[in-house]
């Protein structure tokens, strides 16, 4: 096993990797941008190296800086987390060329699966069922309109280099093609630097069901069952669960086998996810994510397998610690993403300082987050602040536990996606398992009326007290500001200590 690894990421996923690594006796090197000089991953790692710069391109996407940090700290392997460089084949190649282990799949597998067109070709060859569509990118709007006739409406326009829902537009009528094509192309260029688009049939009411796979370099491959991720908005997932309540054991086994066939075809190694669209018992290959996914904890909760631990074992050339026969589904797990967005105002991004945090607790509640009090939430990075995960012996008790945990939690200073998640969990359709990928977008997120009198009365007293205080002590508010600034400056203590080579 490695003595020391570098984590080329930030936020909760950096902490996730550090936690398992520490439990395995592996030291961690964190890298951080100027914005993140007080972030938790810089404090929890054994060594923290500044990358300088603010934007992702200047920091977590800068391969040269990250490789230099690895060389200087003697790291033997690099874990890319998710996002940033995790699905960048060139980076995977450069890590290996530098004599380091890459905690991820082979670069060739990333290349094939990262290109939607290439991956469809490969999957068709491996006998993996795909959504009807073209395997070649379309040149322009006119060609798109013509090709769409052959595939049949509704059509999904997707970025060839895409992922995470970026660059995707749905077209239901040829007249919408021009504006959708322009927007999709613009988004693809700005997000991936590659404006190529392709078309496929849009399946109207699918569920999003994905299979977790794990492969080592000795030819061992296992699937760790499915995750249901149908609760999403603009292709960004919000609530994920495992298992999926509509799969039969036979379907689960079939999908698992197809996913392993997909992985085998690209000589996959490490953790990966094969995503499917599922409708009325049929399933179609959507894409394969060649990394650890945000929602991996629900799989960990129902199988008892630490996926990061398996990733490290595989990257170190060891065998998987689990076999297919040993894997069983135990109970039910749900995850809710905590995004900095105002779910009651059309999910507008929300920024601010987390002045007040209260974490939920109790049995079978797991909070994976890098939030800390006085953290500044800006627009530089992904709005996901963390994930709340619960386990229960069955789906209904897991839902009740999640509702209880959300009610305990408070993220003061920004608006979050939690009210949307709660609305989903309280909805009879979700409880009955009758969901598809449009369910979340069909909901209006509004607080229930039940406690309006209480809230109205409390706000009036709040205003009254505030007005009274500032009338009696007009300088109080400026004093508050001064204290706030002091707190922020003090939190730089950890950073300065580390820059001098100390540990926190």
């Amino acid at each position: 096993m490695f003595k020391r690894i570098l984590i080329a990421n930030r936020g909760e996923i950096a902490l996730r990797v550090i936690r398992t690594a520490r439990e395995m006796g592996v030291e961690c090197v964190a890298v951080y941008s100027d914005v993140d000089d007080c972030a938790l991953h810089t404090r929890m790692a054994h060594v923290a190296v500044p990358l300088h710069g603010v934007t992702p391109a200047e920091s977590y996407l800068d391969m040269d800086k990250i490789l230099k940090a690895a060389a200087e700290t003697g790291a033997e392997a690099i874990h890319p987390g998710y996002g940033f460089l995790s699905e960048n084949a060139e980076f995977a190649r450069r890590v290996k060329a530098a004599g380091l282990a890459w905690i991820g799949p082979p670069a060739e597998a990333i290349t094939v699966m990262g290109d939607k067109i290439e991956s469809r070709r490969a999957m068709a060859k491996a006998n993996v069922p795909c959504v009807p569509g073209l395997t070649d990118p379309v040149d322009d709007v006119a060609a798109a309109v013509k090709d769409a006739e052959g595939i049949g409406y509704p059509i999904a326009i997707k970025a060839a280099a895409g992922g995470g829902g970026k660059g995707i537009r749905i077209v239901r009528d040829p007249s919408e093609m021009e504006s959708a094509f322009r927007q999709a192309s613009g988004e693809a260029v700005s997000a991936f630097g590659d404006g190529r688009l392709y078309l496929e049939r849009y399946i109207d009411n699918p569920r999003h069901v994905e299979i977790q796979v794990m492969c080592d370099s000795h030819g061992n491959r296992v699937h760790l069952f499915e995750r249901e991720c149908s609760i999403q908005r603009r292709h960004q997932k919000l609530v994920e669960e495992a298992p999926c309540c509509v799969l039969t054991d036979q379907m689960r086994q079939d999908m698992g086998e197809v996913a392993l066939r997909a992985a085998e075809h690209v000589n996959y190694e490490g953790a990966g996810t094969v995503e499917f669209l599922w409708e009325k018992g049929e399933f179609f290959f959507l894409e394969m994510n060649t990394r650890l996914q945000v929602e991996h904890p629900v799989t960990e909760m129902i199988t008892g397998v630490d996926l990061v631990r398996e990733q490290l074992l595989v990257a170190a050339g060891e065998k998987l610690s689990i076999t297919q026969d040993e894997l069983k589904i135990h109970g039910h797990a749900i995850e809710v993403r905590i995004n900095a967005e105002d779910a009651t105002q059309g999910y507008l991004p929300s920024v601010g300082i987390l002045h007040n945090l209260r974490a939920p607790g109790g049995p079978w509640v797991r909070l994976d987050t890098a939030m800390y009090r006085h953290m500044e939430v800006g627009l530089t990075y992904d709005p996901m602040l963390g994930k709340l995960i619960v386990w229960g012996p069955d789906r209904i008790s897991a839902i009740e536990r999640m509702k209880r945990a959300i009610a305990e939690m408070n993220v003061g200073g920004v608006r979050t996606s939690m009210p949307a998640a709660l609305t989903v969990l309280e909805h009879p359709r979700f409880v009955s398992g009758d969901i598809d990928t449009h369910f979340l977008e069909s909901l209006t997120i509004e607080p229930p009326k039940e406690h309006d009198i209480l809230v109205a009365a409390a706000c009036a007293i709040y205003r009254h007290n505030k007005a009274k205080r500032s009338a009696m002590d007009p300088e109080a508010s400026s004093r508050e500001e001064w204290k706030e600034r002091g707190r922020r400056e003090r939190s730089g203590y950890a950073r300065r200590l580390m820059e001098r080579g100390g540990q926190v």
């Binding site: 970026k166 504006s179 927007q183 613009g186 988004e187 700005s190 997000a191 603009r234 105002d342 779910a343 009651t344 105002q345 059309g346 507008l348 991004p349 920024v351 002045h355 007040n356 209260r358 627009l379 992904d382 709005p383 509702k403 959300i406 009610a407 939690m409 408070n410 003061g412 200073g413 608006r415 979050t416 939690m418 009210p419 709660l422 509004e446 607080p447 229930p448 009326k449 406690h451 309006d452 009198i453 209480l454 809230v455 109205a456 009365a457 409390a458 706000c459 009036a460 007293i461 709040y462 205003r463 009254h464 505030k466 007005a467």
Partner: protein
């Protein structure tokens, strides 16, 4: 003190009278007996009402507050008689037009209209990118573009005025 409290389009009238340390509270004319305590200076409150205890988080100023109660989030707007009159007058003066503000911080990708151009309700005015998602900002009503204040590539803060529309006369 009389307050109009609005949350998500639901409006309540709150009367708050304080006399010699005694507080009397009415919501829509009904007396509410409520015990209100600050748990800390960060926005946590404990409210007792009808024999039940609630933990609330309240943040914001004397006009706009956000309340979190049992996982749900309430956007609350408050105004008294005087503020209500002033706000109504300001709205009236703007007519059908007025400023088009950035509802979120982001980057202007493309401006789709020119000054002087006539617009219908729903005409795309510009594309704003935030969190790598592109959003079309549409005209709220018919009129014309009086002034364009931003250009492509520009970073704008939440609430920034992007353009000014002139309402139909």
């Amino acid at each position: 003190m009389k307050l109009f409290v609005d949350m998500h389009g639901r409006e309540y009238e709150v009367d708050l009278i304080e006399r010699a340390g005694q507080r009397e509270l009415r919501v829509d004319g009904k007396v509410v007996d409520l015990d209100f305590r600050e748990a800390d200076t960060l926005g946590q409150f404990i409210v007792m009402m009808d024999g039940q205890s609630y933990g609330l988080s309240i943040e914001g100023d004397t006009h706009e507050t956000h309340v979190t109660l049992a996982g749900h989030s309430y956007a609350v707007h408050m105004e008294d008689d005087r503020e209500r009159a002033a706000n109504l007058a300001a709205k009236e003066a703007a007519g059908g037009g007025g400023p088009v503000e950035a509802v979120m911080p982001g980057i202007v990708v493309e401006v789709l209209v020119e000054e002087g151009q006539a617009v219908e309700e729903g005409t795309p005015l510009l594309i704003l990118e935030a969190m790598k998602m592109q959003n079309e900002i549409k005209a709220p009503g018919p009129g014309s573009v009086a002034e364009v204040r931003v250009s492509a590539g520009q970073t704008v803060a939440g609430g920034a005025v992007l353009m000014v529309l002139k309402g139909e006369d």
